[in-house]
């Protein structure tokens, strides 16, 4: 089954379950089978505590699942962990290289850990490592956040893995470094590497081939960002007024509004199914009943973030 498909699907997740405490709900509780194709950039988004990290740790063979399993290149994570470790690059959310070794020493060490030479796979990391070159002698602990991230990525790529796991790689990294990282990932994807990445930034999720929205240990939807947005299927309005804070409370008190949340410099409201209101009628109600001034209401296009916010409602 999974083995025969392993050429097309380097990662197959099959009903993974893991709970840390007996009486608590499981941290990860995936009922379904998820197949991730070669060269796919697979994103996982979800609130803190959704089980993203636990899922990554299971895939990286750091945590054994209670039940279910997953296959990396056709190898079972429960039994073949020694083989998997040579196939996998894992970059945890926290910086976890040796802070007291220099940039070069870290890279050398992790290359030799995998029995490789830096020159062997330099083409793979070259683009990223060139930016680190001027700091080669600096201690890894003394690098800036973005530089640390680059080094960590280099270290997890140095053995040319076929599957790359990145757990929140851009948390605490400045926007330009974030953009660079995603450009690097796009390049790696071109070379046929399968990448699974979790993120809290919606604009990043947009760059993924497919996105899994995760909550309470489950995948709620798995689809391409466009399909997720097109399946939103509810009417969305953007509302502004001079008193934004009172506006939020007032909007929430209205019968026709099922959900209201801040979105950038305005509030997004999701209208209840079959509520016969228009942008104009909402604006009138806000001005007359709640005496708001400077009211501005317009129809809005759903974004991935809107899908994400409404997911939490379920």
């Amino acid at each position: 089954m999974a083995e025969s498909n392993s050429d097309r699907f380097p990662v197959v997740i099959d009903g993974l379950v893991k709970s840390y405490r007996k009486n608590a709900p499981p941290a990860v509780n995936l009922g379904e089978r998820v197949e991730i194709g070669r060269g796919e950039l697979f994103g996982i988004i979800g609130p803190d505590g959704a089980g993203k990290t636990t899922l990554f740790r299971m895939l990286a063979t750091l945590v054994t699942p209670d039940s279910g399993t997953a296959f990396i290149e056709g190898t079972d994570i429960r039994s073949g962990y020694r083989k998997i470790r040579t196939l996998l690059g894992y970059m945890p959310g926290r910086f976890s290289l040796y802070p007291d070794l220099s940039v070069r020493e870290n890279l050398d060490f992790f290359a030799s850990v995998f029995g490789k030479d830096i020159d062997e796979n330099y083409s793979l990391i070259g683009g990223i490592y060139d930016r680190l070159k001027p700091f080669e002698k600096r201690k890894a602990g003394k690098l800036s956040g973005g530089m640390k991230q680059k080094l960590a990525l280099c270290c997890s790529l140095i053995h040319s893995p076929s599957v790359l796991l990145l757990d929140e790689p851009t948390t605490g990294v400045d926007p330009s470094s974030r953009r660079e990282l995603w450009e690097n990932l796009a390049g790696l994807k071109e070379s046929g590497m399968t990448i699974i990445v979790s993120t809290a930034y919606m604009d990043e999720a947009d760059r993924c081939d497919r996105v899994a929205m995760m909550k309470s240990g489950r995948f709620l939807t798995i689809d391409s960002p466009e399909d997720i947005i097109s399946k939103f299927g509810k009417r969305l309005l953007a509302v502004r007024s001079d008193e934004m804070f009172r506006l939020l409370r007032d909007l929430r008190s209205m019968d026709t509004v099922s959900r209201c949340y801040t979105f950038g410099d305005s509030h997004h409201i999701v209208l209840k199914q079959g509520a016969g209101v228009t942008a104009g009628s909402i604006a009138r109600e806000l001005t007359e009943r709640f005496s708001h001034t400077g009211v501005e209401v317009r129809e809005a296009e759903a974004t991935l973030e809107d899908c994400y916010m409404n997911l939490e409602e379920k």
């Binding site: 990286a60 063979t61 750091l62 470790r85 945890p92 976890s96 070794l101 992790f110 850990v113 029995g115």
Partner: protein, 368 residues
């Protein structure tokens, strides 16, 4: 390159990356061995004595003279009354008060018994009790001499002549130095590898190792071996100081000492590994380590002889590996004992080393 080799090289680079650690490695045995024996001297000398001489006779003057000649006491100006002397003791100007009663000379001449009163300040209990002991033995010597010479008693009083072997001058330093050599091993061989493993946990680097093909066995072994070598280095430094500064271990016995030290290092490494299995942070590791190390140091005869402990705690010492190692070190350094004399201690120490390392491996496996 074999995994073990680059792990070992990595340990070395990490250790050298911060000049603080190599400095600790050299300064720790150096300061411990050079300063502590000089400062922490438990020998009792210069006891401040105040005499309340109510007799003021030739005899009492002879007694006081005798006491001050013994070399242990420094007699201050004598007081006329006991409360005056007590006042001096309160101020810390007197450690011991000797009260000679009125009419002592006369009473002794007429063959009567007299009582001499000794009061010792026991805040410093060693000084108090040992000083009191010295003083009473001097006084009883004196009285025995008196009775012998003046012919009141024909029988020669039996006198105990203590003979201190192997440490003839009762030099406390010779007792201390082997103990400090053990402390060096405990600190370098126990704390260093433990903290190094736990810091990998704290930094999350252990996860990076765990997702790599490196075997845990190689990972742990590289640390144990690296810090083992550092332990031997620090211990060698300590031995050199012991030999050239304190003149210890001049009878040879280096083989005995090093074999003992190696076994003890293996024990400490296994012990440290076990602690690191149970601690997530440096703080936890340090406190747990400290707890056991204090018991090892205070209860196994390192600083105070086992024979002077309570009976129940003497049995406890059999369960402490340090007891055997300190026995080995003292016997070899002070008596020049050989392997055959210390077979039991070596066997027990090895037993502990094996058991703790088995436990360490078992608890390590259970972690995941």
């Amino acid at each position: 390159m074999s995994p073990f080799r680059y792990l070992f090289i990595k340990e070395f680079k990490q250790f050298m990356s911060n000049p603080f650690m190599p400095m600790v490695l050299v300064l720790l045995p150096l300061l411990l061995m050079l300063l502590v024996p000089l400062a922490a001297n438990m020998e009792v000398r210069e006891i401040k004595l105040t005499v309340v001489d109510r007799d003021c006779s030739a005899l009492s003057a002879r007694l006081v003279d005798r006491i001050s000649k013994s070399g242990y006491f420094r007699a201050g100006p004598s007081c006329m009354t006991y409360p005056q002397a007590m006042e001096k003791m309160r101020k810390g100007e007197a450690d011991i008060i000797l009260e000679i009663p009125y009419g002592m000379e006369k009473a002794l001449e007429s063959g009567k018994d007299m009582e001499i009163y000794i009061a010792a300040n026991a805040v410093n209990s060693t000084k108090g009790s040992i000083g009191g002991g010295y003083l009473s033995s001097i006084v009883s010597d004196f009285s025995a001499e008196l009775s012998g010479r003046e012919g009141h008693d024909a029988s020669v009083p039996l006198k105990i002549v203590p003979q201190y072997r192997y440490n003839p001058h009762l030099d406390y330093r010779l007792f201390m130095v082997p103990a400090l050599m053990i402390v060096v091993i405990i600190l370098v061989g126990g704390f260093f590898p433990t903290l190094s493993i736990v810091s990998e946990k704290e930094n999350g680097t252990i996860e990076q190792i765990n997702v790599s093909p490196v075997r845990k066995r190689d990972f742990i072994l590289s640390k144990v071996l690296f810090y083992g070598i550092l332990g031997v280095f620090a211990f060698t430094l300590a031995i050199l100081i012991a030999h050239f500064v304190y003149g210890l271990a001049s009878h040879g016995g280096l083989a005995e000492i090093y074999v003992g030290a190696m076994i003890f290092l293996v024990f400490m490494a296994g012990f440290g590994l076990m602690i690191s299995n149970y601690s997530e942070t440096m703080l936890q590791a340090v406190f747990m380590m400290l707890f056991f190390v204090l018991i090892f140091m205070l209860m196994s005869g390192i600083f105070t002889p086992v024979s002077s402990m309570e009976t129940w705690s003497q049995y406890v010492t059999y369960a402490l590996p340090t007891r055997y190692f300190v026995n080995i070190l003292r016997a070899v350094c002070l008596k020049g004992s050989q392997f055959s004399d210390l077979a039991f201690d070596y066997a027990m120490l090895s037993g502990f080393a094996v058991v703790i390392n088995v436990l360490a491996v078992v608890t390590y496996r259970k972690q995941r």
